[in-house]
Every structure is written in structure tokens, then in C-alpha cells.
Amino acid sequence: MHISEGVLSAPVLITGAALTATAVGFGLKKMDYDRIPQVAILSSVFFVASLIHIPIGPASTHLIMNGLTGLLLGLSAFPAILVGLILQAILFQFGGITTLGINTFNMAFPALICFYLFRNGIRHKNPVVISVCAFGSGFTAVFLSSIFVAASLIFSEESFINIAKLVVIAHLPVMIIEGIFTASCIGFLKKVRPEIIGG
């Protein structure tokens, strides 16, 4: 869900950059040097996994996983997602320098929201609650991201409204798949290494 370079207006770019800078600064401050390897190596997993193409009907989508990132990394999600996007920008030219701020914000803020909404839910004793919360996290994160992307477009230029609507609608099946994916993944971690999700 990257917005390309050159599309957004200066105020939106600047707001995105400022919000991201603040949140990343805060995330870094809360992250000890000792935790750098862990946050970084998990970010590598998200980077590699984002290249997996998952079929939906005749088309396919790639995994976004910001809900899962939020659940596992909490406050570190902001720096982690920023790092992932910088790498994508340099290696594949997905997005670029001026959109780094807003693109990071659109992906990472929903991750953070899901962390606060669902972190207790995925530590619940009842496996049904865990599944529902993990699904909720995957679904909500993508939903909010698409809303934020849409909002960034509309704030830049009102006539982007149709494209903005399309972004949200096109991501509806992705939200469901991300929900299922996140629920299965958290279920897996819960069974195999519950320490990871603090359960």
C-alpha cells in the first residue's frame, strides 16, 4: 500500500514526515541497544514474508502483516516499518524519499493501534478469544491503513476521491486474508513458543 512519489501535496507529506519522525524517535528511545538484533531480525522476516504472493481467486496479493508486526513489536513497530520501507525504496524503488514519512505512518500507526487494542486479547486463556483478537488485528490494521491511504489522497487533492474509494474497496478481500493469516500465525506461535507473544 505504497503511495508513489509525486502524488501527494506538500502539507500531507510534511505532516506524515513529522508524525513519523516523532513516533520513530519515541520508539527508538524506548528500545534498548540490546533489543536491536531482535527487532531487526524480526523486521527481516516481515520483509522476506512480504514477498510471498498469496492467491485470491484469479489474482494474487502480497502479505502486508502490519497487524502482526504491531502485536509482536509494539512501540518498535514504527522504526521497524520505517526500516523496511527504506529498504524497499532503495532495492526496488517501491515508494521513495519524500513519501517515506507518510507511507510509514499509514502502515505503522494502525499497527500501533492494533497493539493497544488486541495485545491483551491474544494472551487470553480461551483460544477462541485469541483467534478472534488475532483476526481482528490483521483485519483492522489493513482496514485502517487503507483508510489512512485514502485520507492522504483526499487531503492532497479532493478529486482523488474515486481512487481513494477504490483503494479501500480493493483491500476488502486483503483484510479478510490478513485476518485469517494473522489468526493462524498467532495460533502457531501460541502453540509452539507462547513466550513470544507473552502468553
Binding site: 509525486g6 528500545m31 531480525i41 524480526l42 523496511g84 529498504l87 478529486s159 493469516f181
Partner: protein, 253 residues
């Protein structure tokens, strides 16, 4: 997967001090992103194209990257002319395309391509390892620089683990389809990668402790500017200042 496609070469752009390249890329991108004059954007695109030309990058590979990037731009061309208010330029059935809409879409196309081409020419022609050192020099927070490098470093290792697990799925005749079995299988694959990475990050941290880690990362200095760097840097900045004057000069005077 994470091949640094444009990194290796022996052009003037490849030899230029990477600190200059990164700063030029950042300033140029910002100027183009906020500029709104056709002339400025056209000159900007020419600037990026000449950098690509000087860097002697494969036209085929560069065009391939542009194609991917312009996917989103295509959407803008499909929608924007018909929704942007203004004087009607042409009609397509019941839809009226406005002249202003077409101009706006063209501006976006120019901006996007100018910035992407500049990023390819200036950033992708340095290795990530070099860029990591540059980031440290331009006062990016220490922790972020190390997070960035560690992430890049272990992408390679994890990609190998990913291939091995994909092979394990393949030899058991896994076929991705639109069904729960497929989504669950991919979730297990990612879950397994996450668990292994947790364990690996512990081991890496232990290896750091064994080498006396006390909360500080080290980097050795690498860069030194020569005359070529100073001259090229000055030329590049003068061009960007020219673009700025062309765009906003009248406002100041």
C-alpha cells in the same frame, strides 16, 4: 531476491562520494515533490535521465523498475481527468475529461518518474553497506542506522531459510490455491520463520556479548572527498538551486 541490481559499476556516478549522492537525492526529491511548474519538472526529469545516462545503467532494467512504479500512476490517468473540475478537453461516453485534470495527471507522472529515476541513479548505485555508513555521517540516529543494517544483513539469512521451508512444502506437493489450507500453510511458514528468528536474535546478541558488547556499536570511517567529488557536488547543487530559482524565484523578487 535482494540483489543490489544497480550497485556495481565504474561510472562517474558510481565513483562519486556517496554522502554527496544521498544529500543530492534527498534535496532533489523534496524540490520536485513540492514543485508545480511544468518547466521545473521537465528540467528535473532531464536531470534524472542524464544521471542515469552518466551512470551507464541498463536501460532494460531501469525501464522495468519504472513500469512497476507507474502502475499506480496509471490509475491516476484513468480516474483523475474525469473527476478533476475544469474545462472539458474530450468526452468518453458519458464522462468528460477536463483539461486541468489531464495537466494535473501529467504533472504527477513527471514528478514521480523524475524522483524515482534520481533515486535509482543516486541511491541504488551505492551498496547498502555504504549507505549505512553514509546515514551515520548525516546524523541519522545511531539506533536507526544499526536497526537498518541488521535488518538488511539478516534478510539474506532468512531468505535462505524461507527457500528451504518452501522446498519442504514443494516436495510434499503443496499447491497454493484460494483456500484455508493455503492461508494456514503460509501462516505456519511465517510463524516458523519468526520463531527461528527469535532464537537467532538471541544467538546474535550472545555473540555480541562474547565480543565485549557494552551498548555501543562501532563503525570505521570510510570516506574521503577528493577534487572530483567537490567539483561534481558543486555542479549538482548548482543545478538544484537553478531548479529552485526557476520554481520560486518570482515569489522572492
Amino acid at each position: 531476491m535482494v540483489h543490489e541490481t544497480f550497485t556495481y559499476g565504474d561510472s562517474m556516478v558510481h565513483r562519486l562520494d556517496p554522502r554527496i549522492k544521498v544529500i543530492v537525492a534527498i534535496v532533489f526529491s523534496i524540490v520536485i515533490a513540492v514543485a508545480d511548474k511544468f518547466s521545473v519538472l521537465l528540467y528535473g526529469l532531464c536531470f534524472s535521465l542524464s544521471l542515469i545516462w552518466i551512470a551507464r545503467l541498463s536501460i532494460k532494467k531501469v525501464s522495468f523498475r519504472l513500469m512497476i512504479v507507474n502502475g499506480f500512476i496509471l490509475f491516476i490517468w484513468i480516474f483523475l481527468p474525469f473527476t478533476y473540475p475544469g474545462e472539458t478537453l474530450f468526452c468518453l461516453g458519458p464522462f468528460n475529461a477536463s483539461k486541468e485534470g489531464v495537466i494535473y495527471a501529467a504533472l504527477i507522472t513527471l514528478k514521480s518518474n523524475a524522483i524515482i529515476l534520481a533515486s535509482i541513479a543516486l541511491l541504488a548505485t551505492s551498496s547498502i553497506t555504504t549507505l549505512v555508513h553514509v546515514l551515520r555521517h548525516i546524523y541519522v540516529p545511531d539506533k536507526l542506522v544499526h536497526l537498518f543494517f541488521f535488518c538488511f544483513r539478516y534478510i539474506h539469512v532468512i531468505h535462505h531459510e524461507y527457500i528451504r521451508l518452501m522446498n519442504a512444502m514443494k516436495i510434499r506437493c503443496f499447491q497454493p490455491k484460494t483456500n484455508m489450507h493455503t492461508y494456514k500453510t503460509y501462516a505456519y511458514l511465517v510463524g516458523m520463520l519468526l520463531i527461528r528468528s527469535y532464537d537467532r536474535s538471541d544467538r546474535v546478541y550472545h555473540a555480541m556479548l562474547c565480543r565485549g558488547f557494552k551498548g555501543k556499536f562501532w563503525m570505521l570511517d570510510h570516506f574521503s572527498m577528493n577534487r572530483f567529488d567537490i567539483i561534481s557536488g558543486t555542479v549538482l547543487f548548482l543545478i538544484i538551486i537553478g531548479l529552485i530559482i526557476l520554481q520560486w524565484g518570482q515569489i522572492i523578487t
